[in-house]
Every structure is written in structure tokens, then in C-alpha cells.
């Protein structure tokens, strides 16, 4: 036996309990929700137990999409669906849901889950809209940056305080900005001087400018906004007095990816020209590769003949400028620099970045070039009230069921039953902690599985207790009876639990959505039940027998 002493067993049990409590400790989760009044996104911090609830419990929309093949077959549906995934991903922020899921299932199916979203028509229109790709030159003259003091003044007049005004906040901003630039620019002294100047400009206590940080590579028109302040910046930029002051010919576009500098995450904001130099309609092909000679990641693209002429003209005027790649209004990755005039065939060099990134970019280009029309093959919308009712009913049924189980165990097995009930409490805690740790989703059938598993979980204890009773009846001493009881019940417990776990495993492999949730709950439950019923109850018995070594009869 691995843990022979009571002490080591208690330590293991204690560690498991502490671990469970830790896993289940309510934590602050930032949720982006739509502000009912303004229709914009805002962040709220919610304190909740970190267990994911399935759509059927929290309400929301589930959509399964496939490439529309009704107007002729699509030759490579796997490619089409991965392009569609890219597009949907870049649009997902518009929904403002906390944990959206965009997932390719099988080869050619895309599943989108939007917890909390209520309007299926809106969701479908956003998802099914054709992707729009455009190339735009960034704000090379720094028109937007130069307009910032003006904007700040307008905001001050409108009574908007800079979020960094409160002493500590301002210090934080300056401090964060300083080391950040120097670190990024180590060895580039020339650029450094400019950066320092920009810093003073930008750190003037303005409502908007205090949120915007200088681009680490000094790209004109690129700004970094701390992730948590992005919604604030977004709402400021949407104000009419700010909109009026954004220079003519300039538009602002958010980037899709988060850049982390030090411990913080930043979202990029790009000031770009309002006219695209070319759109996705002109793009014919885009492929990623790794250059054999330079060992760089490269995306090759081919334009249509007319697009090539247009692109040649435009890039000729913009050599040395940055070109943002914008899909559905969001800048994708970092804008590449135009090194020379480009015609019909062009390439984007990503330097030493991994090939994966080049593949992603090629996907973005293709997504805009060959929009894949999506058709909805499955749709579920669950209202939030229904989910809450389900949780309420499920918990009520669970409580009643568990109370009945407790009653049966305590009445029938008396003190040993009490030990089993104690172990059952641990069982529930371990199972919930397991759900939280594995990041699995609790669905309505999962909730049923959890309740059901409480009834089944005591089976192991029942087997052991019955065996102990038998051994006692055969005239064994209490201590021997307990040992023998555990020993002989073991093979039955292991065999029966393993076979149930195998069935649950198949359910997991074959099932989808709610049924998978059920299977996971069942598997975690089986594991937790083995630990508590065998290990924990055994420990309780060891303590009990140690305190009363001369015990003649056992309360079982």
C-alpha cells in the first residue's frame, strides 16, 4: 500500500481538499458586455466560481455552419472552412460575449457559440456577411497624432477626465511607457530620441492621449492601447466631438491581435488612410512558404491583371510606407512596409516569425479574396431565463436527491454511513474542482449526470461496508474485517468503474456538445468517487480504529 500511515494519507487528502478549494475559489473575471444604454461594449468584473456553463445553462446561440454548396460544389471545403473560421474570428468581438467559441468540427463544419447573445438574426447576419479585405496606407504624416492635443482639449471641455489623472495612475502610465520603449529599442539610438519626444507629447494629461502609447517600432499611425482600456478608448473615439476632430482622410482601425509588452497586453490602434489602395476583389492567390535562401517566412500573393496595374501605381507612390491589411474593418497583424514598387506578383516578408504566422496571413488574404458563403445547418438559441430555470430545477433535484442518499446511508450504516457522507461531500467538491481544472463545460445533461453520479458514487462504499459486515459475521475481528472488506471489495469496484468509464469515454468521442459535457462529468465523477470512497473512507477508518484499538463492534 502506497500510503501506509494515517499522517501521509491525511496529507494527501488535505492537499486534494486545498487544491479543490483553490480551483473553485471565486475569482474576478472580466466580462465584456454590451451596455444597454449606448449599445457599446464595456468591461465588467464578475466574481464567480470558475466553472464554464454550457449554452443550455447560461443561454446563448449555437450555430453550425457549412460551406454553401448549393450553387455548385466547392472543391476544397477544408480550405474554405478555415478561411471562414478566420473571418468569423475577426468578427467575433462585435458580439461582445465573454467566451465565444469558434471551432472547426470534423473537416468542413464550423461551430460558433455565443454565450449570452440573444438575437439570432443579428448573429447570423454578422457571421454570414461576405468578408471584405482591403490594403490601406497608414497615417504617414502623423495627422492623427498631431490632432491629439486638439482632441484632448475638446474632451476636457466636454468634461471627460483622463483616466490616468489620479496620481498613481499617471505615474503608472509614464513608468510603463518609459522602460517599454527603451527595451524595445535597445541599440537604436537614433530612433530613441524621437521616441522620447513622442513620449512627452503623448503623456500630456489628455483623456485620449493618455490611453495611447507609441508604437514600439515607431510606425507612423500605430498606437498601442492597454487591453483593459481599449473599450474606454473605443467609446471616446465614438464621441461626436472627437469624430469631428479626426483629420480628414484618416480613419481609425483596431488591430486583431494582442501584443504583450512586459506583463501587460496591448491592443493596436491604427490611423489609416480612408481610401484603400486595393481591395480583396483584386486578389487571386495567397500562399505561405519559408524562403530556402534567407530562411524567412514569406507570403506570396498574386493580383488580377487590373489589380496589378493599380497596385503598381499605388505602391510606386508609397515606397517606404506601411500598408495595413484590413479584413472586415480590423487590421490583421502588423502592417508590412512597402519596400519597392509591386506589380501583379508581390510578397510579404515576415522575417524570422514562425511559418504559422505566414500561413495565418495567407489565410486572411484568401478569406478576403474568395469569400466562402456559409449556410447554417444547425441553430440553437436558448434564452437566459430558460437556462437559469434549468439550473434552479437541476440544483433543487440535486439537493433533494443527495439528501435522500444521505438519509439512506446514515440510517442504514450509522456511523460508517456518516463517514461515507463526509466522503460524499469531498466527492462533490472534487468533481466540481475537476470540472473547473479541466476547463470543461457544465451542461444541463452534465448537471443530471452529476446528480446521478452521487447516487452511484456511494456504490463503492456500499460494496465495502457490505463486505465488512460479511467479514464481521464470519467472526473476524473488527480490524481484520475492515482490512478484508476493503481488500475484497476492490476488484469489483475497479472493474465496474473502469467499464463505466470506458462507456463514458466512447460517449465523449462520439458525442457532441451537451452529451460531451455529460460524458466528461461522468468520467471526472468516477475518478473522484474512486478516490473518496476507497482512499478517504479508508483513512477515516484508520483514524477511527487507531483511537479505539479495542473496538469490539463496528458501527456499520
Amino acid at each position: 500500500m502506497l500510503f501506509r500511515t494515517i499522517r501521509s494519507r491525511l496529507m494527501v487528502t488535505g492537499a486534494l481538499v486545498v487544491g479543490s478549494v483553490f480551483a473553485l475559489k471565486p475569482s474576478n473575471t472580466v466580462q465584456r458586455i454590451r451596455d444597454a444604454a449606448t449599445g457599446r461594449m464595456k468591461d465588467t468584473t464578475v466574481r464567480r466560481v470558475p466553472i464554464n456553463l454550457g449554452l443550455d445553462l447560461q443561454g446563448g446561440i449555437h450555430l453550425s455552419l457549412e460551406v454553401d454548396q448549393s450553387k455548385g460544389p466547392v472543391p476544397d471545403c477544408a480550405d474554405a472552412i478555415s478561411r471562414a473560421e478566420r473571418v468569423v474570428r475577426s468578427r467575433i468581438d462585435q458580439f461582445g460575449t465573454t467566451e465565444p467559441v469558434v471551432q472547426i468540427i470534423g473537416r468542413c463544419r464550423l461551430v460558433v457559440e455565443l454565450p449570452g447573445e440573444k438575437d439570432p438574426a443579428r448573429a447570423k447576419s454578422i457571421i454570414q456577411r461576405t468578408a471584405f479585405l482591403e490594403f490601406r496606407i497608414t497615417d504617414m504624416q502623423n495627422l492623427f497624432r498631431d490632432a491629439l492635443p486638439e482632441i484632448d482639449r475638446a474632451l476636457r471641455e466636454a468634461g471627460v477626465q483622463a483616466p490616468g489623472q489620479t496620481g498613481a495612475g499617471a505615474a503608472n502610465v509614464a513608468q510603463l511607457f518609459g522602460p517599454d520603449t527603451t527595451k524595445a529599442k535597445k541599440g537604436k539610438a537614433a530612433a530613441k530620441g524621437k521616441a522620447a519626444k513622442d513620449t512627452t507629447d503623448l503623456n500630456a494629461p489628455g483623456a485620449l492621449s493618455s490611453l495611447l502609447f507609441q508604437s514600439p517600432i515607431n510606425m507612423p499611425g500605430e498606437f498601442l492601447v492597454p487591453e483593459e482600456q481599449a473599450p474606454v478608448a473605443e467609446s471616446l473615439l465614438a464621441r461626436p466631438e472627437v469624430k469631428r476632430l479626426i483629420p480628414r482622410g484618416i480613419e481609425l482601425k483596431w488591430g486583431t491581435e494582442l501584443a504583450s509588452r512586459g506583463a501587460r497586453a496591448y491592443r493596436a490602434l491604427y490611423a489609416v488612410e480612408d481610401r484603400p489602395i486595393i481591395t480583396g476583389e483584386e486578389l487571386e492567390k495567397a500562399t505561405a512558404r519559408r524562403d530556402q535562401v534567407t530562411n524567412q517566412s514569406v507570403v506570396d500573393f498574386v493580383l488580377s491583371r487590373s489589380g496589378g496595374r493599380k497596385f503598381e501605381r499605388e505602391t510606386g507612390r508609397h515606397v517606404g510606407h506601411y500598408m495595413a491589411i484590413i479584413l472586415d474593418g480590423r487590421a490583421q497583424g502588423q502592417p508590412p512596409i512597402i519596400k519597392s514598387q509591386i506589380g501583379q506578383h508581390g510578397q510579404i516578408e515576415l522575417g524570422s516569425k514562425p511559418l504559422q504566422e505566414a500561413q495565418d496571413l495567407a489565410l486572411v488574404l484568401r478569406a478576403g479574396a474568395l469569400p466562402a458563403p456559409l449556410t447554417i445547418v444547425e441553430e440553437r438559441t436558448i434564452g437566459p431565463s430558460l437556462g437559469q430555470d434549468s439550473i434552479k430545477d437541476g440544483i433543487r433535484a440535486g439537493v433533494v436527491g443527495v439528501l435522500l442518499v444521505i438519509l439512506i446511508m446514515v440510517v442504514y450504516y450509522r456511523l460508517s454511513g456518516v463517514l461515507a457522507v463526509l466522503a460524499l461531500t469531498l466527492y462533490v467538491a472534487f468533481t466540481l474542482a475537476g470540472l473547473a481544472l479541466f476547463g470543461s463545460t457544465l451542461t444541463l445533461p452534465g448537471l443530471a449526470g452529476l446528480v446521478l453520479s452521487v447516487g452511484i458514487a456511494v456504490d463503492a462504499n456500499v460494496l465495502i461496508f457490505e463486505r465488512i459486515r460479511e467479514e464481521l459475521q464470519h467472526g473476524k475481528l473488527v480490524r481484520t474485517a475492515v482490512d478484508e472488506g476493503f481488500k475484497h471489495a476492490m476488484s469489483a469496484i475497479v472493474d465496474s468503474n473502469v467499464s463505466t468509464a470506458l462507456t463514458a469515454g466512447i460517449l465523449y468521442l462520439v458525442g457532441t456538445g451537451p452529451v460531451r459535457g455529460f460524458a466528461v462529468t461522468l468520467i471526472i465523477g468516477i475518478g473522484a468517487s474512486m478516490i473518496t470512497a476507497i482512499f478517504v473512507v479508508r483513512t477515516f477508518y484508520m483514524i477511527w480504529l487507531q483511537r479505539r484499538p479495542d473496538m469490539a463492534t463496528l458501527s456499520v
Partner: protein
Amino acid sequence: MIRLFANANYDFIKWRRWAYGLTAALIVPGFALFLVHGLNYSIEFTGGTLIQLETTQPVGTERIRSALDAAGIRDAEIQQFGGANEYKVQARLGTTAALTQGSTDSTAQAVDSALAHGLGPHQYTIVRTEAVGPKVGRELQGKAFLAILFSFIVTLIYLAVRFEWRFGLAAVLATLHDILTTIAFIRYLNLEVSLVVVGAVLTMVGYSLNDTIIIFDRVRENLRKFRRQNLYEILNLSINETLPRSVLTHGTTMATTVALVLLAGEVLRPFALVMTFAIFTGTFSSIYIAAPLLMYIEKRWPGQDARGARAFRPAGAVPLTPPPSGSGSEARSKAAV
């Protein structure tokens, strides 16, 4: 101390023919119904549209039907679902013209506007909609079948490794019996077969196997302990010895499933009903199907240790009492804590 069925000594196996009759009486008509009418599959399997709504006051299914009829939506099923003011409207694929064209979302909108017309726009809220295309439904049917098939194969292999193939075969056949009775049960109550109910059937497979394994585990042990009894007696002895455990475990499990049936709401009720039935059929089949089957299998293909099925009745010579203490306790210790 309460003791149920302690030292029970019933001759279970003797009643096996009665049990076969009983189970056949349940399965045959139910299965005939199943073959003729099929099952009441949910739209997850058939494809179609489901709309669950809550009205401000109970309006009755008739008002909803007339509202839908007025809009030309005819073949939708309307039923009360849960409370008096909650309804479920569902149309399976192929029943409505709009759906056969492959657009799954138009039906939901048509129903919504028909209701807004017939009941008034603020008289109801749609709390759930589901629309499933025909392809997804067909895929799911295939997957559900595969899941059950795979679970059989895997279980058979596991039991063959842990026991021997005769035990595994008997256990799997008993489980097959449970699936048949459950299908009959679902057919009798005309429960809607959704994915969750398929999940319940698979859980039932696990639970029923579990129960069979507990008894077989004891059979395995008793076969080693009592060298002079025949299989008939060993089976009876093992069933009787595990009887208190069966009663207790089924009691606690039943407590939870009945709580689910009564309290967990309309969506989970079919699941909970199937699980409650599963406890009966699982217990029944472990005793009356799995054990006699093991006996027949041992007779047909005798194993090494199978002084098995020399006789289908008790030998009578040897009393079936527990051995003197200490003689058989070191039978084996397979797993350690």
C-alpha cells in the same frame, strides 16, 4: 443495525424461465410497436425546427394552433411543455414545404410572425429555438448507433481481459437485453428520443454492466472458494451475497433519478425516466439474464474452471453456508489501495 436481505438464500436461478417470459412479454409488443411505428425522434435526429415559448397567460394549445393555421403552418406539433403557460412547437423536416428547401431558419421566423399575429406581439416570449438541417440529423443517427456498438466491443474486450470471454459475452448479452427493454419502455411511454436520451441509454449500458460485474466478481471469487459446488449454486450464492449491496445501491441511485424525474424540469425528464427504468432492468438482467446466460455458455463451451454447468439444478448435497472462518478469506487480493 438495519439489515436487509442478510443471509438471504433465495433460489433465483430456479425462476429463470418465468423471468424470460416476463421480459419477453415486455419486449416483444414494445419491439413490434417500434418496428411498425419507429420511435419519436427529436428534431436533432430528424432535422426540423423547435420553438419553445412562454406566454403571459395560459392560452392553450388550440389558440396557438389556430394562430399557426391562419398563417398556413399546418404540420407543426404543439404541446404544453412544463408549466401551463409554456409550449413547444415543433416541425420535423419534410413536413413543411419551407423546410424541404433546406432553409432551417425561415420556419422559426414564420412561426414567430404567426404568433405575433395570432396572440399579440407582447403576449409571449420565445425562450428557445432549435433548427437542425437534414444532414446533421442523419449524421447524429449514425453516431448514436456507432456509440452503442463501440461501447459493446470495448466492454467485451475489457471483460474478456479481466474475467474471461464467457463472462464478457454473458454480460454484453444481458446489456443487449437491457437496450431492448429500454427501447420497448421508450416506445410504450412514447418518450421523445433526443441526444440526451441516447446519453441515458449509454449510461444505462454502463450502469447495467456495473451491476452484472459486481455479481460476476463474486462468482469469480466463489468459484475459487467453493470447489465442490456447481455453477448453479455458485450463481445463486453470489446473487444472494450481493443482494444487500444491490438493494442499497439501487436505492440511492433511484433516490437521485426519482428526484430528477420530479424536480429537474421538462428537458431532463425523459433522461431521468429512462435512467429510473434502467435501474430496474439493469438489476433484473444481472440476476435473471446474465447469470443464467453464463450457465448456458459454460455448458455449451465449458471453460477450464467450469465445473460450471454440469447441472442446471442445485446438487443438494452440499449445504450453501459460508465456510468456517479463515478458510477462504485469502482467496486473492487483486488490487491494493
